[in-house]
Symmetry: C2
Subunit: 201 residues, 2 copies
């Protein structure tokens, strides 16, 4: 005994979402069918549209339905000489919210992970190299995550970029602002110590 | 700064799923866009189809895309005199898997909850009363959940059904098979004690 064919198909399809197993998919399907058909239809439309129309920005690889994303298309940003390399579109949003950075981005959409078969070309490093060849970029800011894979990716990109006339920098690692030393892990603390700066008053 | 319009719309729509907030919706959208467009398109299709085509069985209120669900339509079940009342379609599946019950079901699709505005008619109790009026049913098995709301719903249905010529029973509450007394909560244990049966060897 199973659910009716369409309900079963909906439950099976929902399982393609990350972190959703049989029980969660079932709960989601029932919730939509019983209480929120309108939301379900809206989701179906948004999904269908996004899956077919959203592609990558030709310059920075961020998700966009146009040829260039909003940032790359902005006249102010076009003349930027700084290029910030991040792992995901969410990182772009996070950095944009600081309003500290006026340059352009390059979104890797992941990190190097040989075990998962993700190599340099899957991260679009060939596109990045083309960008460097143009000679407009003078500084490359490596803002990959401070994880093992993120560090390895940053290292790989730095190796690649040192053949070009660019300054290569890495975002600072240290104690989070507002944090307490007591609760910061040892690794971060040793980074914070070795990366100390002169403090002038 | 936000994501591109279609991506943002997808993220917002995903939030209609139960237990999915901004961060999870974002992760789901990126996962589908980056690694599983095919799955996303399949989900869009299944959703659209289910939302428009799946309705309720006219007899038992279970989800189905036909007029009668598989169980109500089965010739063997049509002549059944037992009616098992459950809260959700998942409960039907659970009871069917025991292969102990050959009667028909009635799915409430929830429980009485005055605070949420869910009254007797939202649970289809008028349909249930019509069913009892036909006189085919001789036993009503109340299999709502052993929660406060489930008990209240069972009580309400029992009150309603006592005007008809039917035996009313409630599924047994007690110590789960394979469980250890030590870890069973006091409420369940007191139910198990008061519901004790003669043990003949």
């Amino acid at each position: 005994m199973k659910f009716s064919p369409l309900v079963q198909e909906l439950i099976d399809s929902l399982k393609c979402l990350p972190g959703v197993g049989s029980k969660t998919a079932q709960r989601m399907a029932f919730q939509l069918l019983e209480r929120n058909r309108q939301g379900g239809e809206k989701l179906a439309g948004a999904l269908a549209k996004a899956m077919t129309e959203v592609g990558h920005c030709q310059q920075c690889r961020n998700f966009t339905e146009s040829e260039l994303c909003e940032i790359c298309a902005s006249p102010k940003r076009k003349i930027a000489t700084q290029l910030c390399i991040v792992e995901s579109p969410a990182d772009v949003i996070a950095i944009e919210q600081t309003a500290e950075f006026q340059g352009r981005y390059f979104v890797l959409m992941g990190h190097l992970s040989p075990l998962d078969g993700i190599g340099p070309n899957d991260l679009g490093l060939d596109i990045l190299e083309n960008e460097l060849l143009k000679g407009q970029i003078t500084e490359l800011i490596l803002a990959t995550n401070p994880t093992v894979e993120g560090e390895a990716t940053a290292h790989y990109i730095a190796e690649m970029a040192k053949h070009y006339q660019v300054t290569i920098s890495r975002i600072a690692h240290g104690v989070p602002v507002g944090g307490e030393l007591e609760y910061v892990d040892g690794n971060t603390l040793s980074h914070a110590l070795s990366g100390r700066k002169n403090y002038s008053v």
